[in-house]
C-alpha cells in the first residue's frame, strides 16, 4: 500500500511525539492540567508505535496492547483529574509550586 513509507518513519514520528510530550512535562511548570495532557501525548506516542509495528509486521498483537494502553490512560486520567479537583479544593490553585507540603 505504501510506496516509500517504512517502519522507521512511523518510529520517528512516535519518537518526536514522545519527545514533545516529555518536553511539555519538563518545561511546563505552570499547571497540572497541562502536564496531564502531555502525559496523554506520551501514551499516544507509544500507541502509534505499537499500531505501526502491528501494520508492518502483520501482527494484530500490537493493536491489542494499544487497547490496553488506552484503558490505562483513561484510568490514570480519571484519578489524575480527581486529584486535581481535590488539590484545587484544598489549595485554591493548581500551580505545581503550590504542592510543597512535603518540602520536596
Amino acid at each position: 500500500m505504501f510506496y516509500t513509507l517504512t517502519l522507521s518513519h512511523v518510529l520517528t514520528l512516535s519518537a518526536l511525539l514522545f519527545t514533545m510530550g516529555m518536553a511539555g512535562i519538563v518545561l511546563n511548570r505552570r499547571n497540572i492540567i497541562a502536564i496531564l495532557m502531555c502525559l496523554e501525548l506520551v501514551l499516544l506516542s507509544v500507541s502509534i508505535n505499537l499500531v505501526g509495528t502491528s501494520y508492518f509486521r502483520a501482527d494484530i498483537t500490537g493493536q491489542i496492547f494499544s487497547m490496553f494502553i488506552l484503558t490505562v490512560a483513561a484510568a490514570e486520567l480519571a484519578i489524575g483529574l480527581a486529584i486535581v479537583t481535590l488539590f484545587f479544593r484544598n489549595r485554591g490553585t493548581i500551580e505545581i509550586d503550590a504542592a510543597d507540603l512535603m518540602k520536596g
Binding site: 522507521s8 502483520a58 494484530i60
Partner: protein
Amino acid sequence: MLPDLIFALFATGILVGAGLIIAARNPMLGMLGMLVTFINAAGLFILFGAEFLGLLLIMVYLGAIAVMFLFVLMTIDLEFFKLREKPKAYLPLGLLTVAVLAGEFILAANYGLFSTNVTMLPTGEQPQNIIQIGNVLFTTYVLPFQLSGLVLLTAMVGAIVLTHRPRSDVKRQSITKQVLRTKEEGLTMTKPKLGHGTGTNVAKHWKPKSVAK
C-alpha cells in the same frame, strides 16, 4: 503515493496539535490542541488498518477524556493562569535533556533493530480488523482483558472516593441511628393538666430527629 501523503498529513497534524498543547498559555487552547492531535492519530490508525482502534480513540479521547478535561477546567478558576513569569533556571537543562532524548530516539528509530527497510510483510487474505482483534482478545489475551476491566473499576472507585466529601448541611436518613433509638429518648410520658397542653418540658426532651420522611 497517496497513502504516503496522507501519512504525512496526519503526522503533521499530530505534531502541530502536540506543539499547541505545549505552547498554549490558556488550557482551553491546549484542549483544542489535544483534540487536533487525537483526531489525526485516529486517522493514522485507520490508515494503518486499525479501524477499530481508530474509532475507539475518537470515542474514548474525544468523547470521554476531552469532556472530562473540560469539566475539570470549568470547575476551577482560570484566572490564575495569567501567572507571573518566574525565572526559569531549569529551562536550558530541560531543553538539553529533551534534545538529547529526541536525537537518541530518532537515531534508534532509523538505524536500530528495525532498520529502514521493513516494509509490509506479505499477508494472505485477512479477515476484518475487528474479527482479528476479537479472535485474539477473547482467547489469548482474555486475562489481561479482564484485568483492564478491573483497572477501570479501580479508577472509578478511586475517583469517587477521592472527590466525595460528606456534607453536614443536608438532612439524610441514618438507618443505624433510627434503629438504635430507644424508648427513653423517643417517648415521654406526661400528665397534662386540663387546658395547659403538654407544657414546655416536653418540648425540651423531644427534638425532631432526622427520621424517615
